[in-house]
């Protein structure tokens, strides 16, 4: 399946990009994060992140669909 990935803050710096389309066999955000973390050398553990699919927070075992927009959100620091 193809996923539209968006990266923010330290994850964007690590990945060297703000977005990418990823062809992946991962079926859940948990599987997908393991894959992209290895590919881009992310050091933030999944436990420190939240995940959003198509603009809404989801659980790590959410079932992904082809062409979903998937965003792994580092701990936020607004304000």
């Amino acid at each position: 399946m193809n996923y539209q990935m968006l990266y923010f803050a330290s994850l964007a710096d690590r990945a060297g990009r703000a977005e990418e389309v990823r062809d992946s066999a991962a079926r859940t955000p948990r599987e997908l994060y393991a894959e992209v973390a290895a590919a881009h050398d992310f050091t933030l553990a999944a436990e420190r992140l939240r995940v959003a699919v198509n603009g809404a927070f989801v659980a790590w075992d959410h079932a992904l669909a082809d062409r979903d927009e998937v965003v792994f959100l580092p701990p936020v620091s607004g304000g």
Binding site: L44, F57, P74, V76, S77, G78, G79
Partner: protein, 149 residues
């Protein structure tokens, strides 16, 4: 009408405060978050804020809707800047109007705390020594050197 917004230009505080107006309100409490020149013992020159806009806006709206349910307030609004900000710039503005001051103070405090906790916005501090770093709470930076890019 949107009560939470991301803004890539200066926040119009007078307009935001005017929008809190309500015939039943006996007062308003507002909070302004400013860019300060230091953090964790380091000299800060400027900040960049980045947001995942669709989710930041929906989560911000959800916080304001929850505030209206949790506290006896009449109006609640919040604006957060994105982009590059200088020392002293207004980074975030939150305001509530209420019949009585206790609810107004409590709700305003709760809103800014929840925004800092839940809304997907990230702060990149640029330090006097040329380094920069995205902050991830516990508010300690994940530092990357600008010279190494």
């Amino acid at each position: 009408m949107k009560c939470f917004r991301l803004a890539d230009t200066s926040i119009d505080v007078d307009a935001e405060k005017a929008a809190l107006g309500h015939a039943a309100a006996g007062g308003c409490v507002t909070f302004e978050g400013w860019v300060r020149d230091h953090n964790e013992g380091r000299v800060v020159r400027r900040l960049d804020y980045q947001a995942y806009a669709p989710l930041a806006e929906s989560e911000g709206e959800a916080i304001l809707a929850e505030a209206l349910e949790r506290f006896h307030v009449r109006e609640a609004r919040c604006i957060h800047r994105v982009g590059s900000l200088a020392i002293g710039d207004l980074a975030v503005w939150a305001g509530v109007s209420a019949d009585h001051r206790d609810a107004a103070f409590a709700a305003c405090r709760w809103i800014i705390d929840e925004v800092k906790l839940r809304v997907p916005i990230w702060k990149n501090e640029h330090y006097a020594d040329g380094e920069s770093g995205w902050l991830h709470p516990d508010n300690t930076p994940v530092v990357t050197s600008e010279y190494s890019r």
